[in-house]
C-alpha cells in the first residue's frame, strides 16, 4: 500500500505504508519531519496534516477526542486531521495528504 505525502516545500513523496501503522508513524519512519511530540497518544496536536479534498469522505471521521485535540491548533482547516489518529488500511491505500506547517519541527 502507498500514501502520498506533500512536504513543507511542496514536494510529494510516495511512501510504502504498512497495514495497522499510524499515518504519523509512516511519515516519520520515512524520515519526513514531523513534531508528533506525544508519540501518538492524541495529546499534543503536533502531527496535523491536510487531507486532499478527494479523500475527505473516504477516511474515518475524527473522534471526539481528536476534535478536542484539534482545538489546540490555532489555525485549523476544514481538512485538518491528526495523523496519529489515522490507521493505515486498505481503505486508505493511495491517501493523499499535505504536512501542516504546525507539524514542522525545524
Amino acid at each position: 500500500m502507498k500514501i502520498y505525502v506533500t512536504d513543507y516545500d511542496g514536494k510529494t513523496h510516495k511512501l510504502e505504508a504498512l497495514e495497522g501503522w499510524r499515518i504519523m508513524e509512516i511519515i516519520r519512519d520515512w524520515g519526513l519531519d514531523m513534531r508528533a511530540e506525544c508519540g501518538g497518544a492524541c495529546a499534543c496536536a503536533t502531527c496535523e496534516v491536510y487531507i486532499d479534498e478527494e479523500w475527505l469522505d473516504k477516511i474515518p471521521p475524527a473522534s471526539e477526542e481528536e476534535e478536542n485535540m484539534l482545538d489546540q491548533v490555532p489555525n485549523v482547516e476544514s481538512n485538518s486531521r491528526l495523523s496519529c489518529q489515522l490507521l493505515m488500511s486498505e481503505q486508505l491505500d493511495g491517501l493523499k495528504l499535505t504536512l501542516a506547517p504546525n507539524s514542522k519541527s525545524k
Binding site: D71, P74, N75
Partner: protein, 343 residues
C-alpha cells in the same frame, strides 16, 4: 560566591519521570539534588500531555497512567528530600575553572553544583503561538499567554481564544472588569467543566460576553499596542473586533530552548552522550532520557531509568573521587534500606 547561591551536589534540569528517578539513584549514593522545571508541577510530559492516558511499557506495571507514574516516583524519592524549583527555565549553565557549575534560571535563581544532569525530555514546554503575522511584536503587553495580573485587563477590550478550561475560566473571570470581552473558538463545543460552559453561554445570552465561532486571521495595531483582531468566522467571513488585550490559549508545545546554547555537542537537536556514563561532551554534564542521543537510542521512559542509574555511578565518582564505591542492592543492603527509611 554570593549569598543567594544555592549549593548542591546535583542540579537536575527537568522534573519528568527520568529526572525524578535520577533523584532516587543519586540519593542511594548520598548525593543531594535540586530539580528545576518550567512546569508548575512534577511529571513533565506525563503530567502535562497525558496525565490520564495509560502507559503499558513500564516494567512490572501492566498499565499505569502518567499521573500515577509521577505520583509513585514522587513517593519513591521522598526519602531523599529533593528540592523543586518550578515555573522557571534554566537559561545559563557555565563551567567554572574548578570544575563546578553555575546554573541560572530566568527567575533569577542561581545554583552552584558539582554535576549537572539534563533530563529535559523534548525541551521546555512553552505556550503554542498562533501563526499570525507580527504576533511577536505585541507579545508581553497586548498579547499574553497567561494572565499574570488581572488589573492589566481592567477597562480593556479583551479577546480570549481557545476552547479549553483556561479560555473559559478567564472569560468568566475577566468579563466583569473588562470593557468588552470576546471569546473566539472554532466550534461551539468546549473541553471544559459543564458548569463553566453553561455559565459562559448564559453570559453570551445576556450580552456580557461576545462569542464568535472562528479563528484569528490577523492583528492590527502599532508600536506593540494591539487595536483590533480580524477573525475569520466559520462561514469564512472576516470580522474586525476592537481588541487591546489578546489571550490565546492553545496549550503547550515543546521547544529545545537555551540547551542549544550551552556548547554541548548536538545531533539533530539531541544531546550526544556516551553509553557508559551518559555524559555529554562537557565533563560533569550528563544528559538522560528523551533529550539524549546515542546509537540505538529508544525514547522510552524505561531507557531513561537505565540511563539514570549508570549516570549516578559516574556522577558519584566525580563528586567523591576517593570514595570506594561498592555496588549494593536495596533488597539486601541495610545501609541502603536505612537511606530509604525502611524500618
Amino acid at each position: 560566591m554570593t549569598k543567594s547561591e544555592i549549593l548542591t551536589d546535583i542540579v537536575i534540569i527537568g522534573a519528568g519521570p527520568v529526572g525524578l528517578f535520577a533523584v532516587f539513584e543519586l540519593g542511594l549514593l548520598d548525593l543531594k539534588c535540586h530539580l528545576i522545571d518550567i512546569l508548575d508541577r512534577p511529571g513533565g510530559q506525563c503530567a502535562e500531555l497525558y496525565p490520564e492516558k495509560p502507559i503499558y511499557d513500564i516494567p512490572a506495571f501492566p498499565v499505569i497512567s502518567g499521573q500515577e507514574l509521577t505520583d509513585n516516583l514522587m513517593k519513591q524519592i521522598e526519602p531523599f528530600k529533593p528540592e523543586f524549583h518550578f515555573n522557571q527555565m534554566v537559561e545559563v549553565v557555565e563551567k567554572l575553572p574548578d570544575g563546578q557549575f553555575i546554573v541560572k534560571t530566568n527567575e533569577g535563581k542561581v545554583f552552584r553544583s558539582k554535576v549537572v544532569v539534563i533530563a529535559a525530555g523534548g525541551g521546555s514546554f512553552q505556550p503554542k503561538r498562533p501563526p499570525v503575522e507580527n504576533i511577536e511584536q505585541y507579545e508581553g503587553k497586548s498579547v499574553q499567554y497567561a494572565v499574570r495580573r488581572i488589573e492589566d485587563y481592567r477597562n480593556q477590550d479583551v479577546m480570549i481564544v481557545g476552547g479549553g478550561d483556561s479560555a473559559l475560566d478567564w472569560a468568566l473571570n475577566l468579563h466583569s472588569i473588562a470593557k468588552s470581552l470576546t471569546l473566539v473558538h472554532r466550534r461551539d463545543v468546549f473541553r471544559a467543566s459543564p458548569a463553566s460552559v453553561k455559565e459562559m453561554f448564559n453570559l453570551v445570552d445576556e450580552g456580557k460576553i461576545n462569542f464568535i465561532l472562528g479563528q484569528i486571521a490577523s492583528l492590527e495595531g502599532e508600536n506593540g499596542q494591539l487595536s483590533a483582531v480580524n477573525i475569520k468566522t466559520k462561514n469564512s467571513e472576516m470580522k474586525k473586533i476592537t481588541t487591546s488585550r489578546l489571550l490565546p490559549f492553545f496549550g503547550l508545545t515543546m521547544k529545545l530552548g537555551p540547551v542549544a546554547d550551552w556548547g554541548l555537542e548536538l545531533n539533530d537537536n539531541l544531546i550526544v552522550v556516551d553509553t557508559e556514563k551518559f555524559e555529554t561532551s562537557i565533563k560533569g554534564i550528563f544528559a538522560i532520557g528523551d533529550i539524549n542521543y546515542y546509537p540505538g537510542k529508544l525514547k522510552l521512559i524505561l531507557s531513561g531509568f537505565h540511563e539514570a542509574a549508570l549516570m549516578a555511578q559516574a556522577a558519584k565518582k566525580i563528586i567523591n573521587p576517593d570514595e570506594r564505591l561498592i555496588f549494593q542492592y536495596t533488597t539486601s543492603s541495610t545501609k541502603l534500606q536505612k537511606k530509604l527509611g525502611v524500618k
